[in-house]
Symmetry: D2
Subunit: 278 residues, 4 copies
């Protein structure tokens, strides 16, 4: 059984209210909650999965935080990208250990934390926002979970272009992503993925029209993920009554070079015609 | 602009039919498609994102494959875990570079490929199945994408227990996951995550009942993800007509120790009572 | 342009808060709202579709109420069947002018109002509940919309059987509809429709198992309707954020006689075999 | 137990393939199916709910058709309005026995059959289409279910206006409903309901913009209904795999007169101001 150590990122959560407290354990520190205080020194060395109590006797479980919980724990001043969307975005952008990715805007840093978790120490995230206040907040959120070293926060208008090139993926969570298509294309490696999230139908219509007309992008896809949570009382299992009905439309495409790079005639079998199939 | 090299894992895909061909580039090899043949030698050294043609003239784009595409490309003899579910599973299980995870059953290896992509070379996946045929297929699928070294395939009935301990997460995609709860608990680190996917309502009801009654698990959640793809013809954007309406119910919980580990009285402030809050 | 008359059922609704007030116009009466008072005498003779103001100056539109609005206007002490489900129930039960239908339980009378609206003066609704308080409330709700004469409210435990026979349809909105299958069958005409709504997965599993095993019912179907409302601000059209994620599972089946009533041999063409087709 | 009579509209359906045959019973007629022939004379006088067999021995149940089945049975040469949408449309348009409603376009007549079922013999449906071929098909479909007398089919371009006035509701299932808003308004009674169905996001955005800008309409709502069918095998109950993911966006609004018709000062209480509330 694994025990906590100083420097561990741990989650304290009560089973009923499920409010999350994520902290990096540091001798001498204390966690203040609305239900009482907990000393880090009392947490260090405990086995994960056990229950601790605040000085008021309120019980918390001591757990290693998942990526879902890291995202939910973000201190936010803006709408964040939800874990359901974040997970799918990882799959569609091809985010893996070692990947290099640009995102804009940073916002509160929710997706940034998810990206930084996944690219690992061998990858990197460049996150752009032109609102200094949001960058400060995102920086704080990244610090708290020990991932600041994987992210470069940039205060810059993306219409002026991204400063990186040949990145694996670009993700845009901005009001008018269609205005930054050239900039995204310039930053992407050949075949790299551009992903966008837009909340309204108007934006979806505009964005798809612009992507379709852009010579540097192909394989345009649009999707939406609906998360249906269930109540888990064993005798009365049922979908939840009140749910989040919409977060945003997800749009993905690939940076391509439209002019054909033909296989050399020498590799053709004799007698084959030049005409295109299918 | 990045160019392909021998040893690269590349994707060839036609923009219209979107059929995927993922191959590791190897001098001398050739890719046979229903639309003609392509020599690996003709692909090596090309810039990513460009178009190539088969000897019959059929055009393909040459792209770096995303995790979504790796999963879709799996040769399958069983239902696979879809990318929409895989991405969310990563978030909920806390799969990150370096994570150690058990899954059962392996099946065709779709989730296995996703997990192996995410844990990286510092993590590991132990995948159990008691059907030798499926293990062979999964092994082949892992080989093809260069991830076999990150996965240990095990031919073993999970009712006999898992051979690993203190793993970060266990994921069960089996007919009766409730029969293997003790085994999963024994394999998990304290606070680790157990995830399950079950296709039927009957299983959902049974599983939640059993998890609720199990003293070693808490924080039971059940959810379902619905993916809504859109048609992206610019003048007629609309949700797709025929869609996958259901893949499975996702159930997550945490390995916990129910008896309280109380904070030591010495850390209490004088005058505080022992009574529980909340 | 049609003008209101004494005796008309009218809707007063403010365009912003959309709170509904449905009243039968009666000289001398007054409508009290949280935004001021309106005299019925001031409403009688006005053209439908126009705006009126309360004595506090708060504006209301004067409209003929739709069935949707009649249902939403129900004074409720229990969950009601939502319009999205009610409309579909009408289609599946075959509720038309002249239809005779039984429902249980009555509850606040929401579905009862919808059924009574649709069967018209030539049809009839028999509505059972064993809670006198709910029957009184439903009776009041029916009175208010002028439909009490189309409904017979019955204070009776449905396990003791329904008092009608050969009805076109039976709809059960009770905790354990599977306990009343024989009673429903006895009340239905041959080929008549039994419909049920149940909120939990446990009930869905139990009900389908019981219907499948019952010799008097066939053509079992289960469905669920999800209503997705959109925000209609022209520049920012989008699905609503917070929505009702679940109301209930709808189950429908038909009263059938399983033993074959074969077409007489005389109608067979010579040489045809007796064996059953496909 | 009710028995069939000549002139009854009956449904023959096999429990496995669920293909529908709806016919009006007529002595001497015969029903040809892909599974053999059935003489109407053999059906007349049978109890509803019983099983009959074709001359090839294929079994059918003899049932009274529901509105859902009438719609599904439509011979179609165009997409029809699905029962899930039809039922909700009835609720939102306030379609009841006696209602007078206009629809355009008629198409194959699916919604027309539903409307005609619900307005009864005291109401009426005026259905417009400018494609003579579709009107003929719809006329045939209405004849077959005995509802032609409740519907007036009109071959006319709706941009030239509707010929009726003061109708309770107008429903538009046409490519560009926003082009006929004035025409719809002229046909509607005060406070009457305009409903539209449009399949694409582009149309939804356009329609809502136009309705919002039109002075004669208010209370604009947009919604979408998703039907989730379940497989009902008792031991493996689950949502269906392949489903209809989208039919259309439903938009509803009310014909209103925007200039205020104020309650007369005489009804105000002394001392009340004229200023508008809330």
């Amino acid at each position: 059984m694994r025990h906590t150590q100083a420097g561990d990122l741990v989650l304290l959560v009560n089973e009923k209210d499920r409010q999350l407290f994520i902290r990096m354990l540091k001798p001498g520190d204390q966690l203040q909650t609305h239900r009482g205080m907990v000393l880090h020194d009392d947490l260090i060395g405990l086995p994960y999965g056990t229950q601790v109590r605040s000085h008021l006797g309120f019980p918390f479980y001591l757990l290693p935080p998942t990526t879902d919980e890291l995202i939910r724990n973000i201190r936010r001043e803006s709408q964040i990208v939800f874990p359901k969307d974040s997970g799918y975005i990882m799959m569609k952008l091809g985010i893996r250990p070692g990947a290099v990715v640009i995102e804009a805007g940073t916002g509160s840093g929710g997706l940034c934390v998810a990206l930084a978790s996944m690219v690992g120490d061998d990858g990197h995230v460049y996150s752009y926002d032109n609102r200094p206040k949001m960058l400060r907040l995102a920086g704080l959120n990244l610090e708290r979970v020990g991932m600041a070293h994987r992210v470069t926060l940039k205060s810059r208008d993306i219409l002026d272009g991204f400063e990186e090139t040949a990145v694996d993926a670009v993700f845009l969570d901005v009001r008018a992503p269609w205005e930054a298509l050239d900039q995204a294309h310039a930053a992407l490696t050949g075949g790299g993925v551009l992903g966008c999230i837009v909340p309204t139908n108007n934006q979806l219509v505009e964005l798809i029209g612009r992507l379709d007309a852009h010579p540097g992008f192909g394989f345009v896809e649009a999707e939406e993920l609906l998360l249906r949570p269930y109540k888990t009382v064993p005798a009365r299992i049922r979908p939840a009554d009140q749910v989040v009905g919409h977060t945003g439309f997800l749009v993905f495409c690939r940076a391509i070079v439209r002019e054909a790079h033909r296989v050399e005639p020498a590799t053709r079998e004799p007698g084959e015609s030049d005409s295109e199939g299918g």
